[in-house]
């Protein structure tokens, strides 16, 4: 034992430090998520870590009414968010009224405990956008 995928380890250490790390390819300059040992766009292996600026937009979402296990108290909002860096990730939408989110709603990164996994990157509707019509 003792084996671990270094890219996953680096991502997890970023989370622990309150940073959402994504990879950028030094050859084609594009970003990718989830982290890999090679670039999924150009197959290059010169990848660097960059910290997400934390802005994104909701691509799709669902209010889960029946949780997957006792660790998840329904309802909770599972979403796909596209970060400003051009990568997409699964996440939660949190905040005072997460069910009011829409596709296209701008969101900002925060960190919260999720299920049994400890603190994870999640998103809340951007304060600048709250109260405005959905885009």
């Amino acid at each position: 034992m003792g084996g671990t995928d270094q890219v996953n380890q680096a991502y997890a250490e970023g989370i622990d430090a309150g940073r959402l790390l994504i990879q950028q390819c030094l050859d084609c300059q594009r970003c990718q998520f989830y982290p890999r040992i090679t670039c999924s766009h150009c197959a290059g292996d010169r990848l660097d870590w960059t910290e997400s600026r934390g802005g994104g937009v909701v691509v799709s979402f669902t209010v889960v009414r029946r949780g997957v296990s006792a660790d998840f108290i329904a309802p909770y909002v599972v979403a796909l968010v596209e970060l400003d860096e051009g990568v997409r990730m699964m996440t939660h939408i949190v905040g005072p009224d997460p069910e009011q989110v829409q596709i296209g709603t701008p969101v900002v990164l925060t960190f919260q405990p999720v299920g049994a996994a400890g603190r994870l990157p999640v998103f809340s509707p951007s304060p600048l956008q709250q109260g405005e019509a959905s885009p």
């Binding site: 996953n8 991502y11 998520f33 989830y34 691509v59 799709s60 979402f61 669902t62 209010v63 889960v64 009414r65 029946r66 949780g67 997957v68 296990s69 660790d71 998840f72 909770y76 599972v78 979403a79 796909l80 997409r88 990730m89 699964m90 996440t91 939660h92 596709i103 296209g104 999720v114 299920g115 996994a117 994870l120």
Partner: protein, 389 residues
Amino acid sequence: MRALSDIAIVGSYETTLGVVTDRGPMALGVEATLGAIADAGLKPGDVDGLITCNSLVVPVMYHAEATAEYAGLTPGHCLSVGTGGGTTFTALRYAAAAIQTGLAHTVVVAMADSMRSFMTRDRAMMVQSSSGHPIYEQPYGPTVPAYYALIARAHMATYGTTEADFAEAMVSSRAWASLNPTAQYREPVSVDDVLNSKPIADPLKLLDCSIVSDGGAAVVLTSLDRAHHLPHPPVMVRGYGEGHHYEHISQASSLTTSAAVDSGKAALAQAGIGVGEVDLAQLYDCFSPALLIQLEDLGFCDKGEAGALLASGATRPGGQLPVNTHGGMLSHCHPGNPGAMFGLTEAIRQYRGTAGDRQLDRLEHTLLHAQGGIMSSHATLILGRGDRG
């Protein structure tokens, strides 16, 4: 090498389906295997290839080999596949390829599982949702309905699809299932019944979701020259295609158009037919949005039009495009990995003219579609009617 058009399905068998508490996955798989061999008019010793799908409920390391041992078979070739879904028809295509290349003469494809009665509801939920990425998706607690809800919501935003459009999937499914004595749920439902059913993962309700079942099925494939000596008219494999754009939903470049576009085009091209020549479509209706998107991506209607197609009644009994005449996974049977097998065994029943109240008047070409993951891996199969030789 033989042509794909020389490969025939000559045997077919379904176990008792629905809630089966007295036989587990291995026993059901063996029952299906031996049942299909007998249905083909063959003896166990005539089979020299066995392809099975592993059980999610009671996984076995060497599944096909263990199935052969239990059944008393000593085939020259065994292959176990890890998952069902689209892999179901991939397994069938590999069975055909084995016969085409002379690796084997007669191959059984068998799948069975017992998600309903040999696993707790909570455990079944966990096992199914484990198709999500273990590090980058599962920690967020997505359920399988939630994955499909993400797709449904995107389809609504892109095409104006409504929850009532999705509800039409179950209405069509139950219209057929009410005619099928082996269907697990047979009570007809209305759009309102679906809309008023329990919310699961918005916008999906309970009646947008497939059922949880026990059961198994198997088919026997051989070459057409051998098929001519067997009791049933052969059902021919005319075309096949696959498409794979991603595995995990968070990696999908499109949530609303799937790799069924690729698999459908390839299968129809190999069969040399247009989608308008399909008389029966047996699709993978694990969740209502999956059915709508397959109808669109396979070319039965334009993008965004599947709800209207279903609402028109075309897919129901008496309609122009019968879909899932057995009732599909929404109503008939969905034990987990083997789900797509029952679309296949029903198609064979339709070719043989033994589909009872569901029997179609006219049937030349059947399009079968199956998918795995979260609308991730797609396989399309075209079957045709064989002559008696």
